[in-house]
């Protein structure tokens, strides 16, 4: 992993995309793992403690009983960082709502923006485009491209066109192997997409 790059991971359901992200984050153990961040060897247990990677899991992870406006100060103490999230056009209208009352798309968008603003040098996003409305998808892609100037990002999502639009490098996971892909044709060749 290197800062300044957006890395896409594709694969059928059950191919191990989310498992791979959890292993990198240190919440699942692997038989063997060699993790290097900016060419420096890291043990998985250091990832959370040293806040090296911010991780958007596939499933909702915010407390349902809290309002959006109360979650933001839990993540950011500085006024500037808080305002960046508070005044995001898609989040500003949700601040009075409890997280449990948000739609799946609203929640996913809020979660993604929230963790992306953390100072961690790397970001792993598991299905960030899931259930987003087109305008949110567009805004999120622009946002990720902007923050990729200072962060390294790994994305996995079945919305493959949105992922391919912003990634600099991609792989597809197939039968436990990672195969480099550069285009939709490569995804078809590796049976992630149908050939028709």
């Amino acid at each position: 992993m290197e800062t300044g790059a957006i890395f896409g991971i594709f694969g059928k359901n059950g191919s191990g995309k989310s498992t791979l992200l959890k292993i990198l984050f240190g919440t699942l153990s692997a038989d063997s793992l060699q993790l290097e961040i900016n060419n420096k060897k890291i043990t998985p247990s250091e990832v959370i403690k040293k806040q090296l990677i911010a991780y958007l899991p596939q499933h909702p992870f915010l407390p349902n009983n809290q309002k959006v406006r109360d979650i933001i100060p839990m993540y950011f103490q500085g006024e500037k960082e808080q305002d960046t999230v508070f005044y995001n056009p898609f989040i500003a209208t949700l601040t009075h709502k409890k997280v449990g009352m948000l739609s799946h798309g609203e929640r996913k968008f809020f979660e993604t923006i929230l963790i992306s603003q953390l100072p961690h040098p790397f970001l792993m996003l598991d299905e960030p485009f899931s259930m987003l409305e087109p305008l949110q998808t567009k805004a999120l892609k622009e946002f990720l491209l902007k923050i990729s100037e200072t962060k390294g990002i790994i994305i996995t999502d079945h919305y493959y066109t949105d992922v391919l639009d912003i990634t600099t490098k991609n792989i597809v996971l197939r039968n436990g192997k990672s195969i480099p892909v550069n285009s939709i044709e490569d995804l078809k060749k590796n049976e992630y997409l149908s050939k028709n």
Partner: protein, 103 residues
């Protein structure tokens, strides 16, 4: 240290801790129940959170807070805040039922 996430975690595990403490008070004695609330209660809450709200651990991981750290800080919060709240619950229980045991 930003205490807000720890406080949020404690609020989420408190129902498990209080429930455990109450059951211990009823099943054993007030003193034993109170002691178990102060010591094993947080551990019970920790496992309750693990079973019912496991995905929410990522909320804390992203802030660099490990499960072990959550457990340690919750133990301290429980002694400082939970004990007075639990005492209040016990007194309320006593006034409502007239004793600490249900027969």
């Amino acid at each position: 240290m930003n205490i807000r996430p720890y406080w949020q975690y404690y609020k989420d595990i408190f129902p498990f801790i209080a429930g455990f403490g109450m059951i211990c008070c009823i099943a054993t004695s007030v003193l034993w129940g109170f002691g178990l609330f102060c010591t094993l209660g947080v551990l019970f809450g920790f496992f309750g959170f693990q079973v019912f709200k496991n995905d929410q651990h990522y909320f804390y991981y992203n802030l660099g807070i490990t499960k072990w750290k959550l457990l340690k800080v919750s133990f301290i919060i429980n002694l400082l805040v939970g004990v007075p709240i639990f005492s209040f619950l016990l007194i309320s229980f006593y006034f409502f039922f007239g004793s600490f045991t249900i027969t």
